[in-house]
């Protein structure tokens, strides 16, 4: 939902023109504030400077237009070129994202593509205008694991090639570990933890992150006991719990003392260089608890890092994330390189 807000595509934008967007705070792209920008300006930026890849590529592509038409349409909105030029560019892009025989497949319709090819076509569409920011909203959920890996490789490769910033939204920690430079863990529309991939996976400070990591099966550690799920269910986003939104499911309010967890919304606190956690637990306490929790904490964490530009992954477990519109009081900052 935050990502839709960045794109100006959240629901209140439909229909009513110039109506209240329900979004407060700041969204900055290249220093330009998108919240206060006019709808027309945001429209011009959509597709050209920021582009988005959606979850389900079959329903996200128009069934009545050929894949090529849809991609060249995206290109021609922002570039005044002839149909032939746009078509050449489209064929070129389809080739770049790994569609075989792009000059033939360009005239195919989405239903003639496989799931992976559709997502590749979506990526080609998103990249058609060399955006500075690419938002991928669970880009691999509808795909099987092998295709997932291919798509992620493709995104990482193209990110290096085009030099765009990429935001990947996912609940798949494997994906995060694979591609993310920076990780932002979100819970109930709020930031829980923010840091480099290494920090978040090796020394997480937020009980929610612990829960996420604890509920993941691992290949590199001997299996000693059952996975530890986070108890309870994600809260309703219409009725977010008071104080720390995670407190009803958290095991550690007693360690904080008092009723701070139920009354006071925690803010992001620096716990290390470029590592921030929104939790009332003292830093020493956090480290102490994680030391007990971490399975095989001595073994090296296989959090591979993509070398290039800033890729930020907002990871959040369970589908509760982003189902409803969150009035983002927090500042969502996106600095494009």
């Amino acid at each position: 939902m935050t990502s839709l807000a960045i794109m100006g595509l959240h629901r209140s934008n439909e229909g009513k023109k110039g109506g209240g967007t329900g979004i407060t705070g700041q969204i900055r792209l290249d220093g330009e504030d998108l919240v206060s920008a006019s709808a027309e300006r945001v429209r011009q930026l959509r597709g050209s400077k920021m582009a988005m890849i959606f979850q389900d590529p079959l329903s996200a592509l128009h069934p009545y237009y050929s894949v090529g038409d849809q991609i060249s349409e995206a290109y021609r909105v922002h570039n005044k070129v002839s149909k032939q030029v746009a078509r050449k560019r489209t064929v070129d892009l389809l080739g770049r994202v790994g569609i075989p025989q792009p000059s033939v497949r360009v005239d195919d319709f989405p239903h003639q593509f496989s799931g992976g090819m559709r997502q590749r076509a979506m990526i080609a569409m998103a990249l058609s205008c060399d955006p500075e920011l690419l938002i991928a909203d669970e880009p691999t959920t509808a795909l099987d694991v092998t295709v997932q890996a291919q798509i992620l490789d493709l995104i990482v490769d193209l990110q290096a090639e085009f030099g765009s910033a990429v935001i990947i939204i996912t609940h798949d920690l494997g994906v995060v570990a694979e591609v993310a430079d920076d990780v932002l863990v979100m819970y109930a529309g709020r930031m829980a933890e923010k840091g480099s991939g290494n920090d978040v996976f090796r020394a997480p400070g937020h009980p929610y992150t612990w829960g996420l990591l604890g509920s993941m099966p691992r290949l590199d550690v001997a299996r000693v006991d059952r996975l530890r799920p986070i108890r309870g269910t994600p809260p309703s986003l219409i009725n977010v719990p008071s104080g720390c939104p995670f407190h009803p499911r958290c095991g550690y309010p007693s360690q904080v003392g008092g009723d701070r967890c139920t009354t006071e919304i925690p803010v992001l606190r620096e716990t290390g260089p470029d590592h921030q956690v929104a939790c009332h637990l003292m830093l020493a306490k956090q480290q102490e608890i994680w030391a007990q929790l971490a399975p095989g904490s001595a073994t090296a964490e296989a959090a591979a890092q993509a070398e290039t530009a800033a890729a930020e992954a907002a990871a959040s477990a369970e589908p509760g994330e982003g189902v409803t519109e969150v009035p983002g009081e927090g500042v969502t900052e996106v600095e494009a390189t």
Binding site: L9, R43, H62, P63, V77
Partner: protein, 384 residues
């Protein structure tokens, strides 16, 4: 695509033959099953107070004493190639397509229907243009401004339009615009060839009355379709490309929302071409609807049979055209029907059976559902 059209044409011809069998059976088989003999049947063709010899002559002339199969063949052959009525001394030739002679006027039925057809054609096509443009645009605007005053007002009017019968709205409009304020005085049909301006002026009221009924229905359908389509993921994608809202609505939203409307439009137009009975009666237009009513009132079997066949023909043909147009519009139907030109595509379309089954189960499910709801909502001949 060519094979598809040919196949569809063959189906259409087959359907028409079935219709002719049923029509023939209603008028010739059922009376026999009810115990009427060919003499009594022939008596109906002769007029009041017939003599026995006249009836026998008619029986022979129409071949009513020959077996039913032969009679049916005679009937079918008459439609296709014309026929000779042999009544002993005199032989009358009925040119194709021959639907027999009217009881009332003793004239061949076909030319009479052809005289009435331009009236119905003018009425139906003119109204269709009005209601498609009006209904669809109101529906789209209502969907885009859902909950607004415009939406509520137009949907209220649409509800009235769907509910009010033609003979009510028609008479009101006649009273207001023809008598009270004579903007369109003396409404009567003038052929377009005689005076195009007068033709159009005199048809304005019938057009608007008929279009009002259908526009209301189409506005509601379009609104529902647009609301559904505008919530689709591909609309979000279109917006995320940075397209102008207008392009998003027209090219992406309306295009997808219009396909079910097209189906219903084909059926409605087909039905209307067979005669808009209520509208024609209200405005005294001498079209096929009037023709039908007179035929029924006079119990003029050949005329009734002719008009039933003609109406069925229009509906069947309209359906065929819609099917073909559907293949043109929706690539999911189209591509599976095209012959395999590229190996890549062939993986998706393997032979006519899958093409058919996909066509009927998959892509059609939406519009067939819509069509079903619409047809249950509008039994057109009774309404129009």
């Amino acid at each position: 695509m060519i094979t598809f059209i040919i196949r569809r044409l063959i189906t259409t011809v087959f359907l028409l033959i079935v219709v002719s069998i049923i029509t023939f059976a209603i008028f010739f088989l059922i009376p026999r099953l009810a115990g009427q003999n060919s003499y009594e049947l022939a008596a109906q063709y002769v007029g009041r107070n017939p003599t026995r010899s006249a009836i026998l002559q008619m029986e022979q002339k129409l071949g009513l004493n020959s077996p039913l199969v032969v009679q049916y063949w005679h009937f079918l052959w008459g439609i296709v190639a014309g026929t000779h009525y042999n009544s002993g001394p005199s032989v009358t030739y009925c040119a194709p397509p021959c639907f027999g002679y009217s009881f009332r006027s003793q004239q061949p039925v076909w030319p009479q229907m052809m005289a009435a057809l331009p009236v119905t054609l003018s009425l139906a096509i003119g109204a269709a243009i009005l209601w498609v443009i009006g209904g669809v645009s109101i529906g789209v605007l209502s969907a885009l401004r859902r909950g607004s005053i415009f939406d509520r007002f137009s949907m209220g009017v649409a509800l009235a339009g769907v509910s009010l019968p033609i003979f009510f709205t028609g008479l009101i409009s006649l009273e207001l615009f023809s008598y009270k304020w004579p903007i369109f005085p003396n409404v009567q049909y003038v052929p377009i060839t005689t005076n195009p301006a007068l033709w159009a002026r005199n048809l304005v009221l019938p057009w608007i009355t008929l279009a009002f009924l259908y526009a209301a229905l189409y506005a509601r359908l379009t609104r529902a379709g647009m609301l559904e389509t505008m919530g689709e993921d591909f609309i979000r994608t279109a917006r995320s490309k940075g397209l102008k809202e207008r392009t998003v609505v027209v090219h992406h939203g309306l295009r997808a929302a219009l396909t079910p409307i097209l189906t219903i439009f084909g059926m409605d137009l087909g039905l209307l071409l067979g005669g808009a009975i209520l509208t024609e009666s209200t405005f005294s237009l001498p079209g096929l609807g009037q023709f039908t009513i007179l035929a029924i009132q006079n119990q003029d079997f050949p005329e009734i049979m002719g008009v039933v066949m003609l109406a069925a023909f229009f509906i069947v043909v309209a359906n065929m055209v819609v099917d073909i147009l559907y293949a043109v519009i929706d690539p999911r139907v189209r591509v599976s029907l095209w012959p395999c030109l590229r190996s890549a595509t062939c993986a998706c379309s393997s032979g006519p059976t899958t093409a058919w089954s996909r066509r009927w189960t998959g892509s059609r499910s939406t519009w067939s559902a819509a069509a079903r709801s619409a047809s249950s909502a509008s039994p057109a001949p009774a309404r129009a």
